[in-house]
Symmetry: C2
Subunit: 203 residues, 2 copies
């Protein structure tokens, strides 16, 4: 019991500042990009000096890796949540709407993390890039399965390439992180329009 107290209490404090550092890092990475953001800025935003960061993270790259990991996790989890709300044998239409709602909600409610992934994709040190690749691949696999289902259920017209369709949907969804301002339309109304346009578009 004593041991437990000794280990959980300080680790809570430590996790707290780790959390703050990650949030601030995600915020600045998403706005200025990875290279343009200095550890000094991140540390200052969290109320400390640059050197102190190294007590929590091994390097700037390690920080970025964790931000990217969380970002993909946010999206993946949020989509999974929406899927679980459906019946076991859901239709392609219902599935697509759930995917769109999950993906869009994640992007627009955790803009700092997800925008970091979307924006910095492709222009990061290869070591960082490799680390996030596996998780993203797994998520995209789920989209592929959804599209295959649409094809098999005959909802996707024969003359359409389902891979390209997937990229069209993901492209327009991801792009929302570029222009979305929370003051405008509600996420729900966005979901409705995205779903409606793409469903009508592929039938």
């Amino acid at each position: 019991m004593n041991a437990k107290v000794n280990k959980t209490k300080p680790s809570l404090k430590k996790d707290k500042t780790r959390e703050v550092l990650l949030d601030k890092a995600a915020q600045m990475f998403s706005r200025q990009g990875y290279q343009s953001t200095s550890l000094k800025e991140i540390a200052a935003a969290a109320g400390m000096k640059a050197g102190s960061l190294y007590y929590h993270f091994a390097s700037k790259e390690a920080l970025m890796v964790e931000v990217l990991d969380r970002s993909i996790q946010f999206i993946s989890d949020r989509v999974a949540e929406e899927i679980e709300k459906l019946d076991d044998e859901y239709s392609f239409e219902a599935g697509l709407k759930a995917f769109i709602r999950g993906h869009l909600t994640a992007i627009l409610t955790h803009p700092d993390y997800t925008t970091t992934t979307i924006r910095n994709n492709g222009q990061l040190p290869t070591s960082v890039q490799a680390s996030a690749h596996a998780k993203r691949e797994h998520y995209e696999q789920q989209w592929r399965r959804l599209m295959k289902q649409g094809r098999e259920q005959g909802v996707i017209r024969a003359d359409l390439d389902e891979h390209l369709l997937r990229l069209m949907v993901l492209g327009s969804l991801n792009w929302s992180s570029v222009w979305y301002k929370p003051c405008g339309k509600s996420i729900d109304s966005l979901v409705e329009q995205y779903t409606s346009v793409f469903l009508n578009g592929c039938r």
Copy 2:
């Protein structure tokens, strides 16, 4: 006449290396981002040393500004070309297809320049950002006009927000620069699918 020779001949040589430098810069900016690309790398790719760049460009920022300018110009020109092929009183359907073809062709045939714009959007020094803003605004204005036409001609359903629709189309088009590999599908077949999906989608 002599004066003409004296001025055109060397300026041709000079313009040539300027061109090479811009091309290489666009290439590296699009792949690694603005901050992660050093003048040393750009110069090396053009077969010279970093210091020599300053004979052609005032600064790294000036280089970037010109790359961005050209990028938007490419897209804008290419779209204008497609529009000119149409009748004077073209329909929304024809207009949309021309816009999509122009935009996509520009993106996929000058990927270095256009990807630089798309990727680095938002994470550049504000001075650089401001310079490209005007041209881009003018181009987006043309899209707004197209969408308005679609609404007035009744092709865009009443329940759709035409501003959001514009962002959906531009998003999925721009995203193609992230995944497109020239070895895959032809640009024409992409144009067909984009047009078909969005036209069916908004009717």
